[in-house]
Symmetry: C2
Subunit: 220 residues, 2 copies
């Protein structure tokens, strides 16, 4: 049965949301596994990655196929082009979650260096940013996209704070260096997840406004 154009766009929107939900969960669980020292969670995340990789290929194919066959007008083309760009960012968020899994695997072999406070806060904020970015995408809500971009500063501040704190641990006791380095890398992976959420917001604003907000420095 042939689908209507609007149904095809709806299917793409739904598939993007499904992939978004998965990488949001991967983000959450990767840091949660570290906090709870839970190896089972790590396996779940790796299973999710397989699904994310398949969705990544599917979304690109669906979008290209629709562009080729429907020859969409400007607005729909902007939607499809945004979906493909967002697809790339989501896939890389999945990669970052896997990087966190790898650091966590190493951290679970040694005693906890310190209770984790800022890294879970970073992950919570990055996850919120991702959810809001995808909400903004499906609802074409550029206001929400602008608001979400602002939260990236908080994540950057927390990353700097994590870095400074762990530096003092390392300087005071060199035996903490390997663990502290792993935690610093985790915080950077989370920061990059927030960066990808920011990229998604910029794509949404371009989609809605037809205006390129990238490379404009801090937003008003």
């Amino acid at each position: 049965m042939k689908k209507h154009f609007s149904e095809e766009l709806t299917l793409i929107r739904q598939t993007v949301l499904r992939m978004g939900g998965l990488v949001e969960q991967m983000t959450h669980l990767s840091v949660q596994a570290l906090v709870e020292r839970n190896e089972e969670m790590l396996k779940d995340i790796r299973k999710m990655e397989t699904e994310v990789n398949q969705l990544h290929i599917d979304i690109d194919e669906m979008c290209l196929e629709v562009i080729a066959r429907r020859q969409p007008a400007a607005t729909d083309l902007r939607f499809l082009s945004a979906a493909m760009k967002i697809n790339t960012d989501m896939e890389r968020i999945g990669d970052q979650a896997i990087n966190i899994v790898q650091r966590t695997e190493s951290l679970l072999t040694v005693p906890l260096l310190k209770p984790l406070i800022d890294i879970p806060r970073m992950a919570e904020t990055a996850k919120e940013m991702l959810r809001d970015a995808l909400d903004a995408f499906v609802n074409g809500n550029d206001e929400l996209a602008y608001e979400t971009i602002k939260k990236d500063d908080l994540v950057d501040q927390l990353k700097d704070q994590v870095f400074r704190e762990l530096l003092t641990y390392m300087m005071a006791d060199p035996s903490t260096i390997p663990r502290a380095l792993d935690l610093i890398l985790v915080s950077r992976h989370v920061e990059r997840i927030a960066d990808h959420a920011t990229n998604i917001c910029e794509d949404v604003i371009f989609m809605v406004k037809g205006k390129d907000v990238r490379h404009q420095g801090p937003l008003a």
Copy 2:
């Protein structure tokens, strides 16, 4: 005067190459500035970034405009879609070079920790990968793209080697920690440039073969 379709594609190809040349130079100079402790170079790189950011916007606009107006068939659509994806990766290579500039600025305020050997080798390889990836793109050469992807392993090995070596410095003398951390981060930024070159190769293979090679694990 109206341009022919083939002229439009040629212009896009040329613009991608121009941007590629710039981010290749940024990659080279950012590490060279660190090796030679040369602050002037850092300024040059920042100027290049402004140009790269403008080209990033231009290429996306050109591609979308051509897709909307020409309604290209499958092969040309794959070319245009590859150009847009490659555009994203090149812009992020520029971002990574700027990250290296920031670390170098910090490293130039303190004495050199050790002569740099592996990091310049990593940068050289990443730069070669980028050049070959773009060659593969403009010539539709998927063989070259496959060959280039294989070099990513060398960059990863060097990154691990840099990490292990700097770890021994830090453990032996905590006063070296801040400098060693900056160097570790530089090596990771270079590694990510090589990752982006790998992404470009995968896009080229998809463009040529219409086959998605992403997420297939190690290539034969």
